[in-house]
């Protein structure tokens, strides 16, 4: 006790708690930013638990209401749309098909293109690469009319192929894989040659396993990108059976403009929450892979 009394009696001179204004400012900015990002999501979530009349009258709700179950249930299972034959589950499936199909297609094509460019002595390999590279400057939104023309003339409107294929055509994956392949040591290629691995075996047995973190990281990015597509699906699919979630939300709100009923705000909010979940979950669960793929390579 005496010791404690003493230490209390003689406070050390140094630790007068100074307020570090820099840290306070930094944190204030970060917290403000975080709130700015999170509050709309939270509001969406809480609002999704109210009935449309309340929402229509009183706007966004910040408290949890009693309609959560009903709204989510209807959003997922009630058939809606003009033809009354798509429900949330169908749209969820379509979104998955778009997200996964886009990501897989892009990775497969990107890897193969990069393989050809890096490992084969093609006459115009560098030129081909730069041509591919410049397509980075031409995202689908820029070339949307010609793309639509092509897909339509091929009779691919209202098909999954038409939905996915034009989105795949861009250089990001090719570019990343090219950079990665170039960092694989030359000796590894030569060792494999002596070990009797031809081009296909080398690709499958060596290169793909080496790229797996890279593949995982790209998959996540591409999946989220594909999942969130809006403009192209809107243009190319008129059949409600092919609607994705992101489109479905809009479809619900659009009833408003028809003017004869209150739009199902609650359901729209519920659908928005559902649409957000898969990308978030994928990023949360795979973030280790994601970070690894972008930063390290185990060669």
């Amino acid at each position: 006790m005496a010791d404690i009394a003493e230490t209390i009696a003689t406070p050390k001179p140094a630790p007068t708690p100074k307020i570090k204004w820099e840290a306070v400012t930094d944190h204030a900015i970060l917290i403000a930013g975080a709130l700015f990002m999170l509050l709309p999501v939270l509001a969406t979530f809480t609002t999704s638990s109210h009935d449309p009349v309340t929402i229509h009258r009183e706007g966004l709700q910040l408290a949890i209401g009693d309609q959560m179950g009903t709204n989510f249930d209807k959003a997922l299972f009630e058939k809606g749309g003009f033809t009354d034959n798509v429900n949330g589950i169908t749209m969820l499936m379509n979104s998955f098909i778009l997200g996964i199909g886009f990501a897989v297609g892009k990775i497969v094509i990107g890897m193969m293109a990069a393989y050809a460019i890096v490992y084969f002595r093609l006459r115009f390999a560098t030129f081909a690469f730069w041509i591919i590279f410049t397509t980075l400057l031409l995202p689908l939104e820029v070339r949307i009319l010609p793309s639509y023309e092509v897909i339509q003339s091929m009779g691919l409107t209202n098909t999954y192929t038409g939905l996915i294929l034009p989105l795949i055509a861009s250089a990001t994956a090719t570019f990343f894989f090219r950079q990665f392949f170039r960092s694989v040591p030359e000796e590894l290629v030569e060792a494999a040659r002596i070990d009797g691995a031809g081009p296909v075996k080398f690709f499958i047995d060596i290169l793909i396993p080496l790229s797996r973190t890279m593949i995982a990281a790209l998959f996540i990015i591409m999946f989220v990108f594909g999942w969130n597509q809006y403009l192209w699906p809107t243009l190319i699919t008129t059949d409600e059976n092919l609607f994705t979630l992101v489109r479905g939300i809009r479809q619900i709100i659009q009833v408003y403009s028809d003017g004869n009923s209150i739009p199902e705000y609650g359901q729209a909010m519920a659908l928005a929450i559902i649409a957000m979940l898969p990308p978030v979950l994928i990023v949360v669960f795979f973030q280790n892979w994601f970070v690894k793929g972008l930063t390290e390579s185990d060669k």
Binding site: P185, E187, L188, E190, A191, A192, R193, I194, D195, G196, A197, K201, D205, I206, P209, L210, R212, D298, K299
Partner: protein, 354 residues
């Protein structure tokens, strides 16, 4: 295990650089031949042509009794150990060794037996399920060796396999590789820039300089009868002393600005020479003779087993390797250079003349 024969092998890279001038030599069955030379002299290029990783611009390469100029590396029946090991990082030690066999379609049981035998031979059995990243440098090197051994190839190729290891491990692996090669009796071609590695491991050494073969011979040939000033100064540590001198064609050479040295010779060359003496062949002379070789000492370097005296002889820098027990007098030191230890090289060509 085969005889390998290179006939006028030449390499010109697409950019026009002639990395290997036409070179010919044979490797006998079961022989370990070391290609040695400074960095950039074309050792790797030569080895890689034998491996099939570089095309042969001109010449004929025979392994066993096949001309293999246009044969794919996989079909040349060779195995190669690389400087950076080149192990497949995502495969275990076992799979690394088995991969080449698997690609050749061997039955699983046979692969298993071979891999385990090789692992046993290289003391890798307990690491067989590890990835390369979980192994030390020496162990990785052994896995690379194992990958070569399991294939039981006709010819082993090594490209500076030890240069990524620390000095102690390097000495140990040197002996291991040599012992292993003897035991399995495989023909081997080994590239290094380290003359000690070359001297200790080789049955025969090929000294390369700027894409040309300077000399081919056993380590003792190379050491005792270097064919040129290049070989003389490249092989041996510390390197041979080379002094400008003139030779009268009759058993006496005169060091520029200094005294005469007796030479045992058979040639009839006369004129300017480089006079070579290995530091370890010089002894300190107790007395001043009629025609003394006076050495001015600058610096003593302790090696433990002996001492290196750095100084000047007739104004030219000169090194003497003196035994530990020799007393080193203050002031002028007199040297003895035995007649049979003197090497003479023609000044203009650099070629040996005695």
């Amino acid at each position: 295990m085969a005889r390998v024969s290179l006939e006028n092998i030449r390499k010109v890279y697409p950019n026009g650089a002639e990395a290997v001038h036409p070179s010919s030599f044979d490797i006998e069955q079961g022989e370990l031949i070391v290609l040695v030379g400074p960095s950039g002299c074309g050792k790797s290029t030569l080895l890689r042509m034998v491996a099939g990783l570089e095309t042969i611009t001109e010449g004929t390469l025979t392994i066993g009794d096949r001309v293999v100029n246009d044969v794919d590396p996989a079909d040349r029946d060779i195995a190669m150990v690389f400087q950076n090991y080149a192990l497949y990082p995502h495969m275990t030690v076992y799979k690394n060794m088995a991969y080449g066999l698997k690609n050749r379609g061997l039955p699983k049981t046979e692969i298993d037996a071979k891999v385990r035998e090789a692992a046993e031979m290289l003391s890798l059995t307990e690491y067989i399920d590890r990835r390369p990243s979980q192994l030390s440098g020496g162990q990785r090197q052994r896995v690379a060796m194992g990958r070569a051994i399991v294939r039981s190839p006709e010819l082993f190729l090594f490209d500076e396999p030890l240069s990524n290891l620390d000095a102690k491990l390097r000495n140990q692996m040197r002996i291991e590789i040599r012992a292993l090669q003897r035991r399995i009796g495989v023909t081997a071609m080994y590239v290094t820039h380290d003359q000690i590695e070359a001297m200790t491991m080789a049955d025969r050494i090929i000294v390369l300089n700027a894409g040309r073969i300077e000399q081919i011979g056993t380590p003792s040939d190379i050491y005792n009868q270097p064919a040129s000033t290049f070989v003389a100064s490249f092989m041996g540590a510390p390197p041979m002393n080379l002094l400008p001198a003139s030779y009268n064609g009759n058993g006496v050479a005169t060091i520029a600005g200094g005294s005469e040295v007796k030479v045992s010779t058979s040639g009839s060359y006369q004129g300017g020479v480089q006079l070579g003496v290995r530091p370890e062949n010089v002894s300190l002379s107790p007395t001043d003779r009629a025609n003394p070789l006076t050495f001015e000492l600058d610096l003593i370097e302790e090696l433990g087993a002996s001492r290196l005296l750095h100084g000047r002889l007739a104004g030219h820098s000169f090194v003497v390797n003196a035994p530990n027990d020799a007393d080193i007098p203050d002031g002028s030191i007199f040297l003895d250079i035995p007649q049979e230890a003197v090497h003479l090289f023609a000044t203009d060509t650099g070629k040996r003349i005695n």
